[in-house]
């Protein structure tokens, strides 16, 4: 992580409270200061595609609101009281205690508190997510690991064709609901049974979690987040995993994705190719029809910059280069990728169509990224795919800007997806709508 950082583009581990809220009928219980929750859901939710409270988020989230007393005398008793009363007041089926910096520093025994409720048969688990430990993406992994260790039960059988889907981080990705739905749909088209945990619907959430141990395969679609989780699932339940490091956007990457998953899950090649063919035909119908205007508008951007988390930086770069014929300027990855993953992600940026490569910078400090970009010499108006922080910069360098990565405070995101064939079409619509509305 950077020494210091300007322009928040991810938050701290406790931000994983939003991952708990993404599980239907699960509720986080914060053992943290009074303001932690509000700051975190404000940045990851309200100011990120207008993702609000939902069923039990926002100011409904139970919290010990740690004060001076708990800092001095410890907060175990307060936590016990809040968890006990949460079980009475909140209508939910899984309660996940998440600690903040304060309780982790003063050394509360949160595990012991959780175990006492577990012994009484209460659905209470815990994760130590003190904010100083890392990012919310790291926190998301901690929460999934806590679920694996404290909630999942081994299965007696393996259900053939059942595929667990692990991918974008809920709320951090403002388009997570749409993206997961699109991945689900692609996997289902292969004749497999996708099992998605996060998102709306009674078949997701705890029902989906219950099925995780009997899946045939864990598919992780992510540059790095979640790798530890699928490895953990392999250790614990012997489920093999497939790590697909690129968020598939557009026909080239999505076809590759479908072939990789299909082959790993034992889907007949003919079937895979049929799915690809059908989707490509539809995708190219729209692209062909709009190509005249896309090609003949004088203002088209030729070069692009991403300032985004690794999901979007990589996924969007692959699409814009391999499918749309754009060229990369520097690509900035802002989700605090630890060193162990940086080389493999960089390698992906050296592997585009026609031998094109892109320079990658891992940096969470938006201020220094902006300084860097201000020094660049552009020969046409650059397309900047970043966050709401980059609107000011885009004006300065006369660019076109679209917010796709947290914080997306300038857009409303409901079920839009940027994944697969459909998602690629949405992205093309969004980019070129900005270009066209810019001069009109």
């Amino acid at each position: 992580m950077s020494q210091y950082s300007e322009q928040v583009r991810h938050v701290c581990s406790l931000g994983a409270l939003q991952s708990v809220l993404a599980i239907d009928r699960a509720v986080p219980i914060l053992h943290a200061g009074p303001g932690c929750g509000q700051k975190l859901w404000g940045a990851l939710g309200f100011q990120n595609g207008c993702q609000g409270s939902g069923y039990v988020g926002g100011h409904s989230v139970p919290c010990t609101n740690i004060g001076e007393k708990e800092v001095i005398f410890g907060g175990d008793d307060r936590l016990k009281e809040i968890v006990g009363n949460s079980l009475k007041i909140i209508d939910a089926d899984l309660f996940v205690i998440l600690t903040g910096c304060t309780s982790d520093i003063v050394g509360d025994d949160t595990g012991e508190v959780a175990r006492r409720f577990q012994e009484q048969g209460k659905p209470v688990i815990y994760a130590e997510t003190g904010g100083f430990k890392g990012t919310n993406l790291f926190g998301h992994e901690l929460v999934v690991d806590a679920i694996i260790d404290q909630y999942l039960k081994p299965a007696n059988t393996v259900e053939p064709g059942l595929i667990n889907i692990w991918s974008v981080v809920p709320y951090q990705d403002p388009f997570w609901v749409g993206n997961l739905k699109e991945i689900e749909s692609l996997i289902a088209q292969l004749g497999l049974t996708p099992n998605v945990i996060f998102g709306p619907g009674p078949e997701k959430g705890l029902e989906a979690l219950g099925k995780v141990p009997k899946a045939q395969l864990n598919v992780l679609i992510s540059p790095w987040v979640g790798l530890k989780n699928v490895q953990h699932l392999e250790e614990k339940f012997n489920t093999p995993y497939l790590h697909y490091p690129v968020l598939p956007i557009g026909p080239t990457e999505t076809a590759k994705f479908l072939r990789t998953v299909g082959q790993n899950a034992g889907v007949e090649e003919k079937r895979i190719e049929k799915v690809i063919q059908k989707n490509e035909a539809e995708y190219y119908y729209y692209i062909e029809r709009s190509a005249d205007v896309l090609l003949e508008t004088r203002l088209l951007p030729r070069r692009f910059i991403t300032i985004a988390d690794s999901f979007y930086a990589l996924g969007i770069s692959k699409f814009l280069i391999n499918d749309l014929g754009l060229l990369p300027e520097k690509q900035y990855i802002t989700d605090g990728v630890s060193e162990e993953y940086q080389d493999s992600i960089t390698a992906q940026f050296k592997n585009f169509a026609d031998g094109i490569t892109a320079d990658v910078v891992f940096n969470s400090d938006g201020g220094s990224i902006h300084e860097d970009i201000r020094k660049m010499k552009f020969r046409s108006r650059p397309l900047i795919l970043g966050s709401a922080w980059d609107r000011v910069l885009s004006d300065e360098v006369n660019g076109y800007q679209l917010s796709v990565s947290m914080p997306v405070s300038d857009r409303l995101a409901l079920n839009r997806s940027y994944v697969g064939y459909q998602g690629a079409l949405r992205l093309v619509e969004d980019i070129y709508s900005i270009v066209l509305s810019d001069f009109q």
Partner: protein
């Protein structure tokens, strides 16, 4: 009551003003206990995530146009800068200014910093903030982590004093220290008072207008011009230099008693700038009181009276019309204490019956040692109003709203109205501090309430399709059962 500018940290509201976050009773009882110093706080044995001082301090200071903030904390504590940046753009839009990003740097404290300290990192971040933003002042905000591990912020700033030739101000706003997030405003103003404000060289015709976004800027400029006065909007969208001269102003006025108490009384006590301690300027009675207060301290009583007469005449027929529309409706109010007690009165002026007033905390006294005028006025009315105090505890409020079933819920602070709407109660969020500002503002606000009552489809549809996150057991309990009483 005295404001001490020789210490680096101002006491939190609980200790300084006897403020509380747990209470249930009536406005008359509350006022009586406040004036007799017998008000006691009550704790809760269930609580939901509320808010903290650092959010208020950072959000408020980050919108000073040429200052920078260094947040000495893990990155999550700077997450509110995302919201502050959006907020900042709103105020820029109001002023037709070009957009900029707010100047906030975070020291990104990590695990090893909690063991070894991060003083060196903080110094680097301050130097970098100075290089990047070329600010006229740097505010360094603290966090739970920096507070618990005992980082000596004051010494760091002293050491950098020679190297960095601008005011470096510590802002002590650790979240765990106070349940009252408004303590963060005091921390921010204490930093401004001790490090930015300079002793007066002259007396000007300026008026310090303490507020948030300043959306009624144009109107205030025009109104004060009638009295040969000129507003300085404090602190967002002001410059460090403007803030430094607050001591020279003819008076201080505030849109919010909670916000203005510390700076207003501080400027009065130390620099003789009179602070107008009347009702806040929401609705007619509030605006009358506020303008008369300003007129009295600036010698403009006659001009003020003429203005009040004119403005009231202008709205007379509109007021009668909107009162007729709203007459007989009921409302519950949920806001910070100053807005809450001022808005109860304002809503009453529109002919609506306020059947409950919930405030997020309560100050039995302000920094001048007196009970807020808005509380005293409500307590002097014939009808007593049931009130409660809670740090935005939704479970309590939702249980209460479900029982009271008012026609309207009027709230300030995000994350409240959506829940009332889910209960089927049309709700209005007072996001802008000038929503019911004075005479015309009252009429506009009245029509806003009327519109909310006229089409209730969203509330109706939502409530019939979504489930509340509370158990049937809880919704059947008394709303205040968890206030000091543990359910076993």
């Amino acid at each position: 009551m005295s404001i001490n500018l020789n210490i680096s940290e101002v006491a939190i509201r609980e200790n300084r003003l006897g403020s509380v976050t747990g209470y249930q009773g009536s406005i008359k009882e509350l006022a009586a206990q406040a004036s007799s110093c017998s008000l006691k706080n009550k704790e809760r044995c269930f609580s939901q995530s509320s808010a903290c001082s650092s959010g208020c301090a950072q959000g408020y200071l980050s919108r000073i146009v040429d200052a920078a903030i260094v947040v000495h904390a893990p990155i999550g504590c700077a997450a509110d800068s995302v919201y502050s940046n959006t907020q900042n753009k709103w105020g820029e839009k109001v002023r037709n200014w070009k957009h900029r990003n707010i100047n906030v740097i975070n020291t990104n404290m990590v695990e090893e910093d909690t063991v070894f300290g991060a003083v060196a990192k903080l110094k680097e971040a301050i130097r970098e903030a100075y290089r990047r933003f070329n600010p006229k002042a740097i505010f360094v905000t603290t966090s739970c982590v920096s507070g618990i591990i005992g980082e000596d912020i004051t010494s760091v700033l002293d050491e950098l004093e020679e190297e960095i030739p601008i005011p470096l101000a510590p802002v002590f706003c650790e979240g765990f220290k106070s349940k009252i997030w408004a303590s963060g405003f005091d921390a921010a103003f204490h930093a401004i008072l001790t490090k930015i404000v300079k002793p007066p060289q002259r007396r000007t015709n300026k008026v310090n207008m303490i507020n948030f976004s300043g959306s009624a800027r144009k109107q205030i400029v025009e109104t004060l011009a009638r009295f040969d006065l000129e507003p300085v909007f404090v602190a967002p969208y002001s410059t460090v230099e403007e803030l430094s001269k607050m001591s020279e102003s003819a008076a201080t006025i505030s849109i919010c008693g909670t916000l203005g108490s510390y700076i207003g009384n501080g400027l009065e006590e130390h620099y003789g700038v009179p602070y107008v301690k009347t009702l806040q300027p929401h609705g007619i009675v509030g605006m009358d009181s506020w303008l008369r207060g300003l007129g009295a301290v600036t010698g403009k009583e006659q001009e003020v009276e003429a203005y009040i007469r004119e403005e009231k005449e202008k709205i007379a027929s509109d007021l009668a019309e909107i009162r007729e529309k709203l007459q007989g409706h009921t409302a519950v109010v949920g806001m910070g204490p100053s807005f809450g007690h001022n808005y109860i009165r304002t809503i009453q002026e529109l002919g609506i019956k306020v059947i409950w007033g919930a405030t997020w905390h309560f100050d039995p006294q302000y920094d001048n040692g007196k009970t807020p005028a808005s509380t005293e006025l409500l307590a002097s009315q014939e009808v007593d109003i049931p009130v409660s105090v809670g740090d935005q505890q939704n479970y309590e409020l939702l249980n209460l709203l479900n029982r009271l079933k008012p026609d309207l819920y009027v709230a300030r602070h995000g994350g409240s109205t959506v829940w009332a709407t889910k209960l089927g109660i049309p709700s209005v969020m007072v996001a802008d501090e000038f929503s019911a500002f004075g005479y015309h503002g009252l009429i506009d606000f009245g029509y806003r309430l009327s519109d909310a009552l006229t089409n209730r489809s969203l509330a109706k549809n939502l409530s019939s399709r979504v489930k509340m996150p509370y158990t049937d057991w809880w919704m059947a309990q008394d709303s205040f059962i968890f206030l000091e009483n543990e359910v076993v």
